[in-house]
């Protein structure tokens, strides 16, 4: 890839950045909280995936630590 071409990741990031870059004034007096609902629903799949990965990682870490302790106890004993 030439140095003058932006990588795909950067283009995606810049697009996302421009999207979030300018929050203009909200009209609180008619705000029914719809934006908050839609945001949660919109990022639901990503939140669920991130949570599942984190839980799996924690379980794996616990399993590894338990195995390590068991081995150490066996060696000491």
């Amino acid at each position: 890839m030439s140095n003058r071409t932006l990588p795909l990741g950067w283009i995606a990031f810049l697009t996302a950045f421009l999207f979030v870059a300018s929050a203009k004034k909200a009209h609180a007096y008619i705000d029914a909280g719809t934006g908050s609902y839609l945001l949660q629903v919109g990022m639901g799949a990503a939140l669920a995936a991130a949570f599942a990965v984190r839980m799996s990682w924690l379980r794996l870490k616990q399993f590894a630590l338990r195995a390590l302790w068991k081995r150490r106890d066996g060696t000491d004993g």
Binding site: F19, A23, K24, H27, G35, M43, G44, L47, A48
Partner: protein, 459 residues
């Protein structure tokens, strides 16, 4: 005696607080019956009370305050001193936020949902943030998004992010915005780099934008679904974001005060002894330490089991004091941010939702150590007005007079004309004698200062 409604308790149709014969009660309305019964039957109430996250209550056989709507009366354990989020230091607000998320996660484990994430529902009880609104839960319907998401972000995330990334004094925005800092305002005040933090970009900047685009739009709630796994993911994401927000107390006016004072070791020790002796003489149940700095003297009261509130203007000093309270496991000591020249006033609907400082008093004893010269000289408050205010908030007073010859006063006068000819010990005693009887006046050894014990005269 007629019931008195608690003026901060009117928004939630589930129930309300009222005062009867000097005790505080909460009426649970019939409309909330199913949720209240689930709270108890599911085991959630006991789990949260056991973890110190929810204020315990007992059901009482008292008459309903509003028989038309009422179902049950409960008596929650009394919170000794009500404090507000705009009086908390960074870590106090952060701990309150994390407690709220822990409560929300626990509720989900028991098939319920935290429907209200107001920072005003959290109070520091025995040094720990505790939910005081028993009616904040509803039965969880699988698929429902978190109804309190926006409220959590406005009450906790936005002020915390502003304090951590912009300026710690931004916490004071909570005084102006009673329902939390508007997200579009927070988004515009936060530095550019926060847009590169995935958590803040999502929960704050994008959230603000979504509110702007869709805030006023009506939608069919049943169509908007969020899986239980995604809801747990939302709590998890907010928890790790809040945990990562940090602020280090340094470089502010008072945080290093004791390293920069003219006290010798002897004077400091003698002042501590005198304060301890005066506390033992009065034996107060509550102490308010005004200008408490990092809590060296308020700790003398707290260690005696006296409920002590340590107020200071400097968020860095209050932060240091709070972290010290946590490290020591202190249960009777609550540090709070307060500007004495502009103390918390009555706020909210009818100026009655959030109580002013005076309405939360009087304390049995007020400590005003090394304070009068700051008020009289730095802020030009006449001695008579200082005396009147201290009389309004305390039944007894321990106050230190710092004479003009003291190097701290000289420093205050270094770059200004000395127009304070009335600032003398005689004038001080005269002004305070109008409101207090001087019970004892003890010179502090190794200094030119005097410590007074005064008893308030009947109004």
């Amino acid at each position: 005696m007629a019931d008195l409604s608690v003026l901060s308790s009117f928004r939630d149709p589930s129930g309300f607080l009222f005062l009867r014969d000097g005790s505080i009660y909460r009426q649970v309305n019939a409309v909330y019956r199913e949720h209240y019964e689930r709270l108890l039957a599911s085991g959630l109430y006991h789990a949260l009370v056991e973890a110190g996250l929810l204020v315990p209550h007992e059901e009482v056989e008292a008459g309903l305050a509003d028989a038309e709507q009422g179902y049950k009366i409960i008596r929650p354990e009394l919170v000794e001193f009500v404090s507000y989020p705009y009086e908390w230091s960074f870590s106090q607000l952060k701990d309150a936020a994390l407690a709220t998320l822990r409560i929300a996660k626990t509720a989900l484990d028991y098939g319920m949902c935290l429907k209200d994430a107001s920072a005003y529902n959290i109070q520091f009880r025995n040094g720990k943030p505790t939910l005081i609104d028993t009616l904040s839960f509803e039965i969880y319907r699988p698929g429902q998004p978190w109804v309190a998401y926006r409220q959590f972000c406005q009450h906790f995330l936005a002020p915390l992010a502003l304090m951590a990334h912009a300026d710690v004094r931004m916490g004071q925005l909570l005084r102006v915005y009673i329902d939390g800092v508007p997200l579009d305002l927070a988004s515009s005040l936060l530095p550019l780099r926060t847009r590169f933090s995935p958590g803040l970009a999502l929960h704050l900047h994008l959230h603000a934008r979504m509110q702007r685009r869709h805030g006023g739009r009506a939608l069919q709630p049943r169509r908007q679904r969020l899986s239980p796994m995604a809801l747990r993911g939302l709590f998890d994401s907010l928890e790790s974001l809040v945990t990562r927000l940090r602020w280090e107390p340094r470089g502010t006016e008072w945080a290093d005060y004791y390293q920069d004072t003219n006290y010798g070791e002897e004077a400091f020790r003698h002042k501590r002894q005198l304060v301890a002796r005066f506390l033992d003489t009065v034996a107060p149940g509550t102490v308010w330490d005004l200008g408490a700095n990092v809590g060296v003297f308020s700790r003398i009261a707290a260690e005696r089991g006296i409920r002590t509130i340590a107020f200071d203007l400097d968020p860095a000093a209050v932060e240091k004091n709070y972290l010290e309270c946590c490290a020591r496991g202190e249960t009777h000591h609550l540090p709070l941010v307060l500007d004495l020249t502009n103390p918390s006033g009555g706020l909210g609907w009818g100026n009655q939702e959030r109580l002013s400082l005076r309405e939360r008093g009087p304390a049995d004893l007020v400590l005003a150590l090394a304070l009068s010269h700051h008020l009289a000289i730095s802020n030009n408050v006449p001695l008579a007005r200082i005396a009147r205010f201290l009389h309004a908030i305390g039944r007894s007073l321990v106050i230190e007079f710092v004479p003009k010859s003291d190097s701290q006063v000289q420093r205050l006068l270094a770059f200004r004309e000395d127009v304070f000819s009335h600032y003398t010990q005689e004038a001080f005693e005269r002004a305070f004698s109008e409101y207090f009887a001087i019970a004892s006046a003890q010179p502090i050894q190794g200094s030119a200062r005097t410590l007074y014990l005064m008893r308030g005269r009947a109004a």
